[in-house]
Symmetry: C2
Subunit: 348 residues, 2 copies
Amino acid sequence: MVRTGSPSAPAAGPTLAVVAREAGVSVPTASKVVNGREDVAPETRRRVTEALDRLGYVRRPRYDTARAPQLVDLVVHSLDTSWSGAVLRGVEQAAHDAGLDVVVSAGLARGRAGRPERGWLDKLTTRGSAGVLFNLAELTESQYAWLEHHRIPYVMIDPLVEPPPGVVSVGAANWQGGVTATEHLLALGHRRIGVVAGPRRTLCSGARIAGYLSALASAGLGHDPAYVRHAGFDEAAAHRRTHELLDLPEPPTALFVCSDRMALGVYEALADRGLGVPGDISVVGFDDLPEARWTAPPLTTVRQPLSEMAATALRLLVRMMDGDRPESTRTELSTRLVERSSTAPPRP
Amino acid sequence: MVRTGSPSAPAAGPTLAVVAREAGVSVPTASKVVNGREDVAPETRRRVTEALDRLGYVRRPRYDTARAPQLVDLVVHSLDTSWSGAVLRGVEQAAHDAGLDVVVSAGLARGRAGRPERGWLDKLTTRGSAGVLFNLAELTESQYAWLEHHRIPYVMIDPLVEPPPGVVSVGAANWQGGVTATEHLLALGHRRIGVVAGPRRTLCSGARIAGYLSALASAGLGHDPAYVRHAGFDEAAAHRRTHELLDLPEPPTALFVCSDRMALGVYEALADRGLGVPGDISVVGFDDLPEARWTAPPLTTVRQPLSEMAATALRLLVRMMDGDRPESTRTELSTRLVERSSTAPPRP
């Protein structure tokens, strides 16, 4: 048996008609053999298989519309992070359970600022995508209009900015997460709590800061805007903002950092100053990516259930594909504090 | 405009014929509107759009065989690791460049021991997969036969065990990586170098150990088999094997660990004993996953170019889909040492 595309296969692919002629059988008979049908006499099968091998026949893929699993698209911002890994895991498992296949593309990464590149949407229609999940996306008005126009159901997973009314999305309880992180630090005795926040206009960052402010207010504490610094979601920006916070006349004794990845930049900035975590300063992250366990000390963080959010989005999408409607356009899954070793009471 | 599947949409989907009747137009005209064609009078488009909205029409996906991008399958062992993230990133980028779409499934995870589940392969034919990439897979003889029988081109990325002759695969230069790691430790002055190796029968682990032995031999040093301990690729097993190595009468002063993920277990075992890295013992990992930067101290490791391996596999697959043949059935991409802070000369 020659393995497909092995070095002994010729460079050009003959048609099935050529194979059938070579084997002395009809094209439908040759087709039966290629498609693995059982109703072919063994001797005939042998002759066809030999001809296939001899001629190096390469099967042309054929889409069997009646039997093929439907395809749904997962469009991610970037495949560089374990964030997208967790999302993909949730989508893939839920899609498998629903008998769907998932086409993954980093279409957003090749557009600008979370927007899919031109031409990408056209692929959805030609391929007959049954639905789309957008992860960390920010669509333009015309892209929303295009999706509506083509009646392709879609769900946003953790949209970067507030989507238009009626758009279905799934996210984490970011406000509650901000409350939880801040209350944890308050309970340890911290009163000067800085925030290394995400980009100002993003939905998740805004909600987390609002939670921080609510927790301060509930504790009867005032708020100094200088303690909240906005960064991108990257380590380098978080590193800079941490230095700014440490340069304040009364620097914070604890930091709430809006992503685990940013916390790495925070740790580096603290190390620059010779400050120990949690002895000199406490740090709480957000996300609970696998990396949070690897840091020294392991990071106390607010866990958002990314895989579960992604699976929920897929299940909502399946209902919309069936013409059903979600009861609510926004689903939020709960966050919770995962205590590790990066927080302690402030120095007396 | 009602957004697809928004709360105002009814629960059942009407056919296009019903929509056409409601709008007082022909079915082909309604179809033109649904498919975004321009050759429809504005007033007609408006009537159809209103009927679509009123009836809550949900577009049924249609596969446009002539225009749709071909699909290739990426089948991974697990989506739990940043390993698979790096592979997916390489495949997705190269597929995009080739005008292909990628269907991702964790089919191997749901089978047993790296083998796709039953029924999974059938999906490939019904969907008309143009080709398959297997990541960290171990196929059975009958699965290989099935792929050959259906003439579906496939390439293995870092196969777990040696694939049958003729099967095309891409991997890292694991032997060279083992040499590099060991020579680095020898150059620092280490003579008792332990290995926390992967599973005995895996291709990559075997090659890395062979590289270790070659480097020892080149340095004129003997080899004590007790210094090589096989574990799974998980942290817990690596943790146990490290304790075994530390319990030797003459424990190693340096460890070569066959994956970064395992190195986390090694770090934990060393911390159990109060041993500092690299002061008391040096550690070299393998992979250079993003996590390697997060450990304390950051891990010196042998980098394998996972995304580049994956992209290479996709490009080989594309050639095979065109009936071409790779010149070689095994492609190995080079590994290199990434020096961080986990190695130092042994204590005098």
